[in-house]
């Protein structure tokens, strides 16, 4: 675990010295801010669930951008081989990179706390739905970054990894819409849709199945990414 934390810290520090990370963060906050201002214009009540719904959709696009470099770029530059030659397991490397990504995403979410603070200056928003909404966004981000990391492990190039991540995230997001096409399996497909699990959080409800769903997507994706890295030994 300490190896993973060391790698995660190294990842976070690399973001701090990367202009690309700042540009991605600026892009995220600019789009997020536009959503907030647009949503604000139609608001009569102090609530942020509308903005959070937009932010959830934005996560589908930001996650591939953040994760595409993690493994694909390191593999291209040869950094990955150096890392894997160190006395750490593949899983520790993947978990470390994942925690670094998640840390960066969390910082982005923390920056958006400016929105509820602004709202609180002007009105009295309910705290409960804000807390559950942010928890939902964090968990959605965790699952999305997991899939992004897996795509980065599968893709040889950053662009391929990003496209793979985007497609898989969009498919998971829209699974409930696709559910109608599959008679008996509707419930399973609907359950697998990432969009379905965010709604209760935005409404102020934290359900065990939603927390476990996002967590299990993140865990399975990391495990699969570690196995993909391990495949270099037998491929």
């Amino acid at each position: 675990m300490s190896a993973s934390l060391t790698i995660a810290w190294r990842e976070l520090r690399s973001y701090a010295t990367s202009p690309f990370a700042y540009v991605v963060a600026a892009l995220y906050l600019a789009i997020s801010g536009i959503f907030f201002v647009n949503d604000l214009s139609g608001l009569l009540q102090a609530r942020l669930d509308g903005w959070m719904r937009d932010a959830a959709t934005l996560t589908l696009f930001i996650a591939p951008l953040l994760s595409m470099r993690t493994i694909a770029e390191e593999r291209r530059s040869g950094g990955l081989e150096v890392l894997l030659s160190a006395p750490v397991t593949d899983l520790a490397v993947v978990v470390g990179k994942y925690l670094g990504l998640l840390g960066f995403y969390t910082l982005l979410l923390v920056a958006t706390l400016a929105y509820p603070f602004l709202l609180a200056r002007w009105a009295d928003p309910a705290l409960g739905p804000l807390l559950s909404g942010y928890l939902g966004l964090e968990l959605l981000g965790a699952a999305s970054l997991g899939l992004g990391l897996l795509s980065s492990a599968l893709g040889r190039q950053q662009l391929v990894a990003a496209v793979l991540a985007l497609v898989s995230l969009l498919v998971f997001w829209q699974l409930d819409a696709l559910a109608g096409l599959f008679g008996g399996e509707q419930r399973v497909l609907t359950y697998l849709a990432t969009s379905v699990h965010i709604e209760p959080f935005l409404g102020g409800v934290i359900r065990p199945q939603d927390v476990v769903f996002y967590a299990s997507v993140a865990v399975v994706a990391q495990f699969a990414a570690a196995r993909v890295l391990a495949s270099r030994r037998w491929l």
Partner: protein, 448 residues
């Protein structure tokens, strides 16, 4: 050799991933089954189904389908989806779907749906349509479907009783709505024909002011003897003698006005807050307290006057109360000391006839009609008490009182100044600062 190594590697990887996916799937199944243990952070736990709704949903023994017809992407659609999801979580026999009538016009036409917002519930070949998808509406519809019948709650008219169509503070429109929500069909009835309408499942006599003509009085007495179910709400201001209705069942109406110095509303001793329910009767289940303005008094026969008749004190005032003939008088020496009984229930059952049939009369007497008036019915536990009372009279094992829990209002005014502030901070300031940081980092790296 290389191919064999690849095959082994691939097999191991596939097997390991399958195991992890299976474990994750198992965790999800367990979490899904624990869906009811959600944490609700909304104000007043607005998004959690009430215990009463859960109790009703627990009685659904067969497949129940709920189809709500709402426009796609609307907030109503999202709310309905979340609400119906909670119903489905509470009982796996409930299958709920939200349908866009524009996207699936065939289904809407097949079910005869012409309005957005309508929901159709189907159970065991029965169907109930509701015009709004709220917890109250859906739970009430489920109750009606499961019960399979809609008892008629007949509100007696013609003696100065408040009307169920009257919306004013002294009207009973909210009591009628409460009855509807709880699966009854309220309707006004006249006793002028000398008999109680045979379609009545429950008869409500709410606040008569003048004496019943002999024929009408006898009609109520006969109805009660013939397995009748009566809710009698009467206060001390009436000139109606209700004892012919109540005495045979072990309850005396004493009249007067309760003066309760110990527990009242805003220091008005004649508006007692009643919190003493010395009974396990289901009528007071979930009732925290009652607000009964201008309550009168009752006396309950003890021991039970005859075999098969059980009389219960349901609610009584505090020990600091008294029953006064004239609350304005300085001398209250003739008053009856508290606690004063203000609600009582009588339940008489016996087996008669050949073949033997169980007969049952139920009478619920409340010495105060004010608690049922529009002005007070939503105070404290009044609505719960009345809904429980109707269900008890109708011999329903189910008890349902679902209050509406609108979200607390948190108004926000977005002026141009505030909007500009938001733009400055969120769209320009924060991203701009990050872009400046990106430039600084870029220049620093180049310099190195």
């Amino acid at each position: 050799m290389r191919a064999a190594r690849r095959l082994a590697g691939f097999s191991n990887t596939a097997a390991a991933i399958v195991v992890v996916v299976a474990l994750a799937g198992g965790a999800n199944v367990l979490a899904y089954r624990a869906g009811s243990s959600a944490i609700d952070l909304t104000e007043g736990n607005r998004l959690t189904l009430t215990s009463e709704t859960r109790r009703v949903l627990g009685t659904v023994r067969h497949r129940l389908e709920i189809d709500a017809f709402l426009g796609a992407g609307t907030s109503g659609e999202r709310d309905a989806r979340a609400l119906l999801g909670r119903f489905a979580d509470a009982n796996r026999r409930i299958h709920a779907d939200v349908i866009d009538p524009d996207a699936e016009p065939g289904k809407a036409r097949r079910l005869g749906i012409t309005n957005y917002g309508t929901a159709v519930l189907r159970y065991q070949g029965r169907r109930v349509d509701i015009a709004a998808v709220s917890e109250i509406e859906v739970a009430s519809a489920v109750l009606r479907l499961v019960r399979g019948r809609t008892p008629v709650a007949c509100f007696v008219t013609g003696h100065g009783e408040a009307a169920i169509g009257e919306e004013g503070p002294s009207g009973l429109s909210r009591l009628a709505a409460l009855a509807t929500r709880n699966g009854f069909a309220p309707k006004p009835v006249s006793l002028a024909g000398g008999a109680v309408d045979p379609s009545c499942g429950v008869v409500v006599v709410a606040g008569p002011r003048v004496p019943f003509p002999d024929g009408e009085r006898d009609a109520v007495i006969r109805y009660l003897k013939a397995d009748g179910k009566v809710l009698l709400l009467v206060d001390g201001l009436t000139t109606t003698d209700v004892n012919p209705f109540t005495k045979p069942w072990g309850v005396d109406f004493l009249g007067g006005v309760v003066v309760d110095a110990g527990s009242n509303l805003n220091n008005d001793a004649t508006t007692p807050i009643i919190g003493d329910f010395p009974t396990a009767n289901q009528v007071v289940d979930g009732v925290p307290s009652l607000l009964v303005p201008a309550a009168a008094g009752l006396r309950v026969a003890t021991p039970d006057p005859r075999p098969g008749l059980f009389v219960n004190t349901l609610a009584r005032t505090s020990a600091h109360s008294l029953l006064s003939v004239d609350p304005e008088a300085a001398d209250q020496s003739g008053s009856l000391p508290g606690p004063i009984v203000v609600a009582a229930g009588a339940d008489f059952s016996g087996v008669r006839g050949s073949p033997p049939v169980i007969h049952r009369t139920r009478l619920l007497v409340v010495a105060g009609v004010g608690l049922a008036h529009n002005a007070f019915i939503d105070n404290l536990g009044n609505a719960t008490f009345l809904a429980n009372g109707l269900s008890w009279l109708a011999q329903d094992e189910l008890l349902l009182t679902i209050g509406s829990r609108p979200p607390g209002s948190r108004p926000l005014t977005v002026s141009t100044t505030r909007r500009n502030q938001a733009v400055a901070v969120t769209v320009v300031g924060m991203p701009g600062a990050l872009l400046a940081a990106a430039l600084a980092v870029f220049l620093l790296r180049r310099r190195r």
